[in-house]
Amino acid sequence: MAPTFLLAALLAAPPTTPDLSGPTASADSVAVAVVPATPNIARPARPGVAHYQPRHLLLQTGGGVGMLSLGGGLSFARRRLDLDALVGYVPARHAGTALTIATVKVKFAPWQLPLGGSGLALTPLAVGAYGSYTFGLRNAGKEGQYPDDYYWWSRTVRVGPVLGSSLSYALPDAANGRARRLTAYYELATNDLYGVSYYLNRRALSLTDIATLALGLKLEM
């Protein structure tokens, strides 16, 4: 399911309405493009602007991508699929040098459960993946420092899976008619290097050993 939506989202990513009449349009992109707006969740700002792309802002700590991370993103597929970009900061006292971490993250949340008429909605499960690039490491390897393939892994690029849930609160609609929501989320994640360590040592290491936790806020505008 997730790859289908990801593909659909990528196909539908430009803020123009996909041409649905062409014989080459795939079933996936059509499925996303013709999804009707759900009242109070996503409303078209004005005709011609794709309504499945609400913008959101993010504020996050942890998750291996910053003590403090700020970012933004787009939602697709009736806000089930988020594509986020974050920039995180780690001060030198926690990592030896001050680090700046750029992250791209895709999350898919198939269910949203409204909690009565309280304006609250629970997203019980979101799954996804992230990739990050770290700037500012002391020893990421200089040109000619090591023979080829001396270290097989990248010091700067990390990738890993993400799993989480969130609780949303409906805010008054924006002036342009968009539904606004404030969401508190957590994510459990790990990275490729921790994953390799766990895979090779399932007796000595547990999943909690390799887990990281992110806590964040998302403001949909």
Binding site: G63, L99, T212
Partner: protein
């Protein structure tokens, strides 16, 4: 009865909450290069040295320690190694010749400590090239301690020195030969000396411009029992420079073997290989 139960219950709850809070703090990781650690997993070199010095070798007993290296990402093997070493009688401490971590990450160093802290005896480390990767040098200093240090135990001065020249892009200052010379010139009352480093001087990762000065310093040290290294992941003993100085290389954890080193008399020693 009730107040006692209540207070111990509260105390346990408080300690539990504190532990959960601390682990939550580590769980909210800022970066894999984040080197924050619980208080009891910081300054491990100083803590292990304090434990060692607190139990001096009784007169007449023989200096005996376990020598291994390159624990890297071999955590299952580390578990078995600890079980085996804990059955060895008459061993006073364990030495690990660097590459505690594989990727230079603080969490890896803490994973290794999670196993090695179950040893009945203290353990001491020297930094390896993998511990320098990314911001590993800072993580090592936070979790273990100094990159170059020495201690005296059982009439022997142990000098542990960073020889991972390539990680400094061969800047001509690593290893710090003047520091080594100073350490070996004054043995603080000991009569024997042992030097431990990760990269052996005959290796391509050792600064070629400092090789002669380093090997020469060892050659001129009459108290030297041997030089001990890791990095090569296998046991060897020999005199690569044919100058009377013996170099001993450790097994890595993955080989599932280690050495029991006994030092006695003037500069005599015995190496026993143990499989686990």
């Amino acid at each position: 009865m009730f107040p006692f139960f209540s207070s111990s219950f509260l105390r346990n709850a408080f300690v539990g909450a504190l532990a959960a809070g601390l682990s939550a703090c580590e769980l909210v990781e800022f970066s894999p290069n984040d080197h924050r650690a619980r208080a009891d997993q910081k300054d491990l070199t100083a803590k292990n040295l304090a434990r060692l010095i607190a139990a001096p070798l009784p007169p007449g007993d023989t200096l005996r320690f376990v020598f291994s290296g390159d624990s890297q990402r071999f955590y299952d093997d580390a578990q078995d190694l600890v079980r085996s070493v804990n059955q060895q009688p008459g061993v006073q401490f364990m030495l690990i010749s660097g590459d505690i971590s594989d990727f230079g990450l603080g969490r890896e160093m803490r994973w290794i400590d999670n196993e090695l802290r179950k040893l009945k005896m203290p353990y001491l480390t020297v930094i390896g090239n993998h511990d320098h990767v990314a911001n590993g040098r800072e993580a090592y200093q936070e979790i273990f301690g100094p990159l170059n240090y020495s201690f005296v135990y059982a009439d022997t001065k142990f000098v542990l020195i960073d020889t991972n020249s390539r990680e400094y892009n061969f800047n001509g200052r690593v290893p710090d030969v003047p520091w080594l010379r100073g350490q070996l010139a004054d043995l603080n009352g000991a009569s024997r000396s042992v030097v431990i480093s990760h990269v052996p001087p005959q290796d391509g990762d050792f600064d070629p411009n400092l090789r002669d000065a380093y090997a020469g310093t060892l050659r001129e040290t009459s108290s030297l029992v041997f030089e001990m290294n890791g990095h090569r992941h296998d046991y060897s003993v020999g005199q690569p420079f044919n100058d009377g100085v013996t170099y001993v290389n450790s097994y890595d954890f993955e080989k599932r073997k280690y050495l029991i080193v006994t030092v006695f008399g003037d500069k005599q020693f015995r190496l026993k290989q143990v499989s686990f």
